[in-house]
């Protein structure tokens, strides 16, 4: 009887572990959708369908679930604000696999004082930050809630004690009350991360 109970317990524990993460079976993680959104921004710029400032002056992205336009996700990309405080916004409607179905640009003023990046451009730095979320949670389990529930990611430029330019990306999540801060060098390599 004891062995039977123990067997049931072990099976139950393994079953729980199999569903330990909060992803919906058959759907990609929302952080992956955001990463695909970044790639789509770069593609639209390359194809000259949207302005190059979305590549160089991207400062934030937001993602949410949606049923508009036949989509499953809606991703927003924000440029740095213009002199009047307004900013251009790119909206992407994406399907369950993260494929873009449609997009639109809500124009704002041209970025007034966008950060100048000496090595990789802004969109590439967003990509590197999101790669850390997508892949880093395996080695750093505390990052997982940002992998499963990413809500927004915003980037600003800072300098270290030696005056070296760094990218600081702040990530929020529906699955975590805290904020993940990822710090990258301007070539995209990881410097540090913390969750507060």
């Amino acid at each position: 009887m004891k062995l039977k109970n123990l067997t049931i317990l072990v099976v139950a524990l393994f079953s729980l572990n199999a569903y330990a993460h909060d992803e919906v079976p058959g759907q990609i993680a929302i952080s992956k959708v955001t990463e695909l959104g970044v790639h789509r921004i770069e593609r639209l710029v390359t194809l000259k369908k949207i302005d190059d400032t979305f590549r160089t002056a991207l400062v934030a992205m937001k993602v949410e679930r949606s049923t508009e336009n036949g989509a499953v996700y809606k991703v927003y990309g924000y440029e740095a604000p213009g002199a009047d405080g307004s900013a251009s916004v790119l909206t992407l409607w994406m399907d369950v696999d993260g494929k873009t179905l449609s997009y639109t640009v809500t124009p704002g003023a041209a970025p007034a004082n966008p950060a100048q990046w000496p090595d990789k451009d802004a969109v590439s730095l967003f990509e590197d930050g999101l790669h850390f979320v997508l892949e880093g949670w395996v080695q750093h389990p505390e990052v997982k809630s940002f992998y499963t529930g990413l809500q927004s990611i915003a980037m600003n430029q800072i300098q270290d004690a030696q005056g070296q330019i760094l990218a600081q990306l702040k990530v929020t999540s529906d699955d975590d009350a805290k904020t993940l801060t990822i710090t990258l060098k301007s070539d995209g390599t990881l410097v540090s991360y913390d969750i507060k």
Partner: protein
């Protein structure tokens, strides 16, 4: 004293013997037998079985040792033997080590004098054609799959199957539109940091990967323009 001398002699003798064995192994490495007949030992076979899948990705036109032609390979034959057969240093990661049959073939061909042809009408050098199979064997396997495959550094963007290319949310291939296809955008990117295959790795070291040639880009574009059906 007598016992100590004997012990020292034994230790010394063992050391000399081991070193001699290691040197002998290095100069006469144990080679897997080649399954190819002598009449099949020619450059075309070695190129298709060994050089193209395992070497050309790095040793193309990148500026280092070029192994794309018989003439350039013949000039480097001693170095190839030393680095590949004797020291087993090549190919370097992320390219996988040569399989036994590749080692056997390469060794047999070099020992036969590295002939260009075998005098029996060997198979012609493979031509690149606008089909997925041809593009995969002559481009993707050579320059892409060491990273873009399951278990590899960029497994999140696999390029192994035709479905990987056609069904990717990254629009790697947009049938009918080469200019909108991610693969063409990537291999023709004017930004050296974004061009594929990358010239430098994350640490800034040269990868040795050659950019795609104009002909390779043209063939992939043609395949896509034709609908990427096969």
């Amino acid at each position: 004293m007598g016992r100590l001398t004997v012990l020292l002699l034994i230790i010394f003798g063992t050391g000399v013997g081991c070193n001699s064995y290691v040197q002998k192994q290095r100069s006469n490495p144990i080679m897997p037998p080649s399954s190819f007949k002598a009449s099949e030992l020619n450059f075309s076979t070695v190129y298709s079985q060994v050089l193209r899948p395992s070497c050309i990705g790095c040793h193309g036109s990148s500026g280092g040792v070029n192994l794309e032609s018989y003439a350039s390979v013949k000039v480097e034959i001693s170095k190839i033997y030393e680095s590949t057969i004797v020291q087993r240093k090549m190919p370097k990661a992320p390219t996988e080590s040569l399989r036994d049959e590749q080692l056997g073939l390469l060794n047999a061909w070099i020992e036969a004098g590295a002939p260009q042809d075998s005098g029996t009408g060997e198979a012609p050098m493979p031509q690149l054609e606008p089909t997925f199979d041809s593009i995969k064997s002559q481009i993707l396997e050579v320059k892409c799959l060491s990273c873009h495959a399951p278990g590899k550094p960029v497994a999140r963007v696999p390029l192994v199957t035709r479905e990987d290319l056609l069904n990717s949310p990254l629009d790697i291939v947009v049938p009918g539109s080469a200019e909108e296809s991610g693969i063409i955008i990537a291999v023709t990117n004017q930004d050296p940091k974004k061009r594929m295959p990358p010239a430098k790795d994350k640490l800034g070291n040269d990868t040795g990967y050659s950019p795609l040639s104009e002909d390779e880009i043209r063939i992939i574009s043609l395949w896509i323009t034709n609908g990427a059906k096969d």
